[in-house]
């Protein structure tokens, strides 16, 4: 007596693509990730949930390096995300072979989204169940993009994905300004992440930054994160 429904790539009466929406659901249940851009550069951060105390967090990447000036933080089905990341790395190199210049961040984002859009239209395949936050510095300065399973992408000052991303978003809406240098920016990212992370410890957070000055992607190692967390704990915290 409820609604009944069928096959893959078609519109619903309301003009929706259901498969894309369901893929979205898979994203919402991914781990929280966020991206912030500022004058000093771009910060990509992700939480690492310790599903079980035995998990070895250092072997898990949540923030990937695409090229030496671009980084990606995925969310949603892990396997799908990896596919898109490999694809992004190739496109970045192809661009170098063609124009002998580092690729624009938007160019890489666009190529990823085209691939996604194709999987929403042709028969025989399903959409990707992953959304990506793409960040980097190029000739336009610091850039931050978010792509969704339907192949739509937007530019953001700051954004978040994964479960309870809405909580993070509210927090960022209040405390974000563009005129931070890279230091303050990483601090803000940690504070925002601490809202959803089970407990605020070193191996629950992974961060990558691209600084406007060097245009180099660098992953923060454990000490730098420790320093940040302590600086925050001096300013106190809370529970979930």
């Amino acid at each position: 007596m409820a609604g009944y429904d069928r096959a893959i790539t078609i519109f619903s009466p309301e003009g929706e693509l259901y498969q894309v929406r369901y893929a979205g659901e898979a994203v919402k249940r991914g781990w929280a990730t966020l991206g912030i851009k500022c004058k000093g550069g771009v910060v990509l951060a992700a939480e690492k949930r310790k599903m079980s105390p035995l998990i070895d967090l250092s072997s898990i990447d949540k923030v990937y390096m695409i090229d030496e000036h671009i980084g990606i933080a995925p969310s949603g089905l892990h396997a799908d995300a990896r596919i898109l990341i490999d694809y992004a790395r190739e496109q970045a190199q192809t661009y170098r072979l063609l124009f002998d210049e580092p690729a624009e961040v938007e160019y890489v984002t666009k190529k990823i989204s085209d691939l996604k859009q194709v999987y929403t239209q042709h028969g025989g395949v399903r959409p990707f169940g992953a959304a990506l936050i793409v960040g980097g510095v190029d000739s336009h300065g610091p850039m931050l993009f978010q792509t969704d399973p339907g192949g739509i992408y937007f530019g953001y000052y700051a954004t978040a994905l994964g479960n309870s991303s809405s909580a993070i978003l509210d927090y960022l809406e209040k405390n974000y300004t563009y005129d931070m240098d890279i230091g303050e920016c990483t601090k803000l990212a940690v504070k925002a992440l601490s809202l959803v992370v089970e407990s605020l410890e070193v191996d629950r957070i992974e961060m990558g930054t691209i600084e406007t000055a060097t245009k180099k992607y660098r992953k923060l190692n454990t000490d730098e994160i420790k320093a940040l967390i302590d600086k925050i704990k001096e300013e106190r915290g809370s529970t979930q």
Binding site: L98, F99, D100, E101, E104, E106, Y107, K110, S139, H140
Partner: protein
């Protein structure tokens, strides 16, 4: 069992502190002279990058359009003017793919982008070489002499202009009663200016 036949002219390129000068003479196959606002062997790729080459006329027109078409798409995607280096690299890809046998086309790319002026030459087998000055074609050897002797670091666009005119004039060795002679393309930060300079009048008998 038989050779290709090639028609060719002479063209030169000189880099100054505040821009780049590309120049070439106007000989065309069946000996017509061309007076119009746009020269022929000089091609505007973007507002701040120009291409000069010599070889079969028809190929040059096709190639320059292909480059222009792809670079303008590239600009729309990159959302900024293409750099000289990108244009040159792409051109050598076009050549590398269609791999015209080497002596059909030699080309030079000149332009100004925010890292200053650049002049890039493609050598016979397709490598990219950044340079201060260069000349192409059969009159190249003659022209290079004149340029080499009167080139100094830090010269301005106007000096470069005069040198280019002399070199071309010298390399072509035939005097028509009253035609005009050298196409010039001057590239600076403000954009591209094109002009045509005539050969001066003969002294009275």
């Amino acid at each position: 069992m038989s050779e290709y036949e090639i028609i060719t002219g002479t063209s030169v390129g000189i880099k100054a502190v505040d821009g780049v000068v590309l120049a070439s003479e106007k000989r065309v196959a069946y000996g017509f002279y061309l007076l119009s606002k746009s020269g022929k062997k000089l091609f505007k790729v973007t507002d701040n990058v120009g291409l000069v080459s010599s070889g079969v006329l028809a190929d040059m027109q096709v190639i320059s359009k292909l480059v222009r078409a792809n670079i303008s798409i590239h600009e729309m995607e990159a959302k900024r003017p293409a750099s000289t280096r990108a244009v040159a690299k792409f051109l050598s890809q076009v050549l590398f793919q269609n791999r015209y046998m080497p002596f059909l086309v030699e080309a030079m790319v000149g332009g100004v982008d925010e890292s200053g002026p650049h002049l890039i030459v493609l050598d016979a087998a397709g490598a990219l070489i950044e340079d201060d000055f260069a000349s192409l074609g059969t009159g190249a050897r003659t022209a290079i002499g004149i340029i080499e002797t009167s080139y100094k670091q830090g010269l301005s666009v106007n000096d470069a202009r005069m040198i280019a005119i002399n070199a071309i004039r010298e390399a072509s060795y035939r005097d028509a009663v009253s035609g005009d002679g050298v196409d010039l393309m001057i590239i600076t930060k403000e954009g591209i200016r094109e002009e045509t300079v005539p050969i001066a009048q003969p002294a009275r008998l």
